[in-house]
């Protein structure tokens, strides 16, 4: 009788182990769960290379792709062509691509852009306060923010064109009433 129980117990004990193994093998380890998804994108006030102060709330009404990057970051080079294509595909009035330079200097970032191209706005994040406010671990990390200012997704590691296209298309398709945008930004 006891031996019969044991005969079932061993395979049953293996079930959760195998399930965990299958779950681990099947998931994309580059996608980390972020508590920021679905929440309001934190406000920031950062200075661009051109010297303009840029606030997050000023971008409401447009889809924002917030990309934390650095010139010393090798995966940032891998994803750079995708960002160049992103900039060329959508108009600035619809989709804003904003680069946040992380633990790097403006001179190094500019040299990188001269070498690899790219004409979108970049801002410097002194003391990494914005990075910490967004829960950044390292670079590259990219946040997709809807027109209502809500974070829809955080991507750790280089973005792919498929991901960008899917995210931007779904965010542009989401309804966005202009009146509420005025209310959020405090516009009269």
């Amino acid at each position: 009788m006891k031996k019969k129980h044991l005969r079932w117990l061993l395979p049953l004990a293996a079930v959760p182990v195998l399930w965990l193994l299958a779950w681990g093998m099947g998931r994309d380890t580059y996608v980390l769960p972020s508590p920021m998804a679905g929440l309001d994108a934190p406000e920031f006030s950062l200075v661009s290379f051109e010297g303009d102060t840029l606030r997050r709330s000023e971008l409401d009404g447009r889809v924002v792709i917030l990309n934390f990057w650095a010139s010393w970051c090798i995966p940032c080079r891998t994803e750079h062509p995708v960002l160049v294509r992103t900039e060329q595909t959508w108009d600035d009035s619809e989709v804003v691509l904003l680069g946040v330079v992380y633990q790097d200097s403006r001179a190094n970032a500019e040299r990188f852009l001269e070498q690899y191209g790219g004409d979108w706005t970049h801002v410097i994040d002194p003391s990494q306060r914005t990075a910490i406010d967004y829960g950044v671990y390292g670079v590259p990390e990219t946040y997709f923010i809807g027109r209502d200012g809500l974070i829809s997704m955080k991507k750790v590691g280089p973005v792919t064109w498929d991901l960008v296209q899917t995210q931007v298309d779904s965010l542009l398709a989401a309804p966005y009433p202009t009146a509420s945008a005025d209310a959020v930004t405090g516009a009269p």
Partner: protein, 205 residues
């Protein structure tokens, strides 16, 4: 002061005094400056002089902490909170122990928030809202996390009862004499044995 607090304070003092604690290897995706892409190292040319600012801040905190007991208390509380936060780019190191740039900035955020009047719980809640509960080195004892705290105790109690039952079974098995069976002698055999013994005694005498 608890033993843990003493250790944290000692660590904080060690860091302020310039004792560098190396950061463990970081996850593959969490890149930090290595200076391989450019000749200028990021630290040397950081826009706005981040490191210079941080250095001045540390030095300022050090100076004032020596003279102002309020500042010393703030430093101690900041060290306590930083000791409970996980360094995002290290392996199992607290923000307090890590010398990574991000950790140093996080220490600054902790101190600023405490100085602004937030409680240690509020400061930790801020980091949890940004990084998730993963940022806490010790998960909060609530919800599914209770399993982490409860399971060892439950396993211990279950193991105790299991061992007790097994020992009782073994003990009762021993007293019941279920060992090798003893054959009872038939009457003829018993008579033969008795005769043999008697004869033997007679021979000896």
């Amino acid at each position: 002061m608890s033993r843990r607090s003493v250790v944290r304070r000692a660590l904080a003092v060690g860091l302020v005094a310039g004792g560098a604690v190396a950061c463990a290897p970081r996850p593959a995706l969490a890149q930090e400056p290595v200076g391989e892409a450019n000749s200028e190292t990021p630290d040397a040319v950081q826009e706005g002089g981040q490191d210079a600012e941080a250095g001045e801040r540390d030095a300022g905190a050090d100076r004032s902490a020596l003279t102002d007991p309020m500042e010393a208390d703030l430093d101690a509380r900041a060290a306590e909170v930083a000791g409970e936060l996980r360094c995002p780019v290290c392996r199992n190191q607290s923000v307090l122990e890590s010398n990574a740039e991000l950790s140093r900035e996080m220490q600054g955020v902790v101190r600023e928030r405490l100085a602004a009047g937030e409680t240690p719980e509020e400061v930790k809640a801020y980091f949890v809202s940004r990084y998730g509960e993963w940022i806490l080195l010790q998960p909060e004892a609530r919800g599914i996390n209770l399993l982490v705290y409860g399971l060892p105790g439950i396993a211990l109690v279950l193991g105790f009862f299991l061992a007790r039952n097994r020992l009782r079974k073994w003990a009762s098995a021993g007293t019941a004499g279920t060992g090798p069976e003893v054959e009872v002698l038939s009457e003829d055999d018993e008579r033969w044995l008795r005769d043999a013994l008697r004869e033997g005694q007679g021979t000896r005498s």
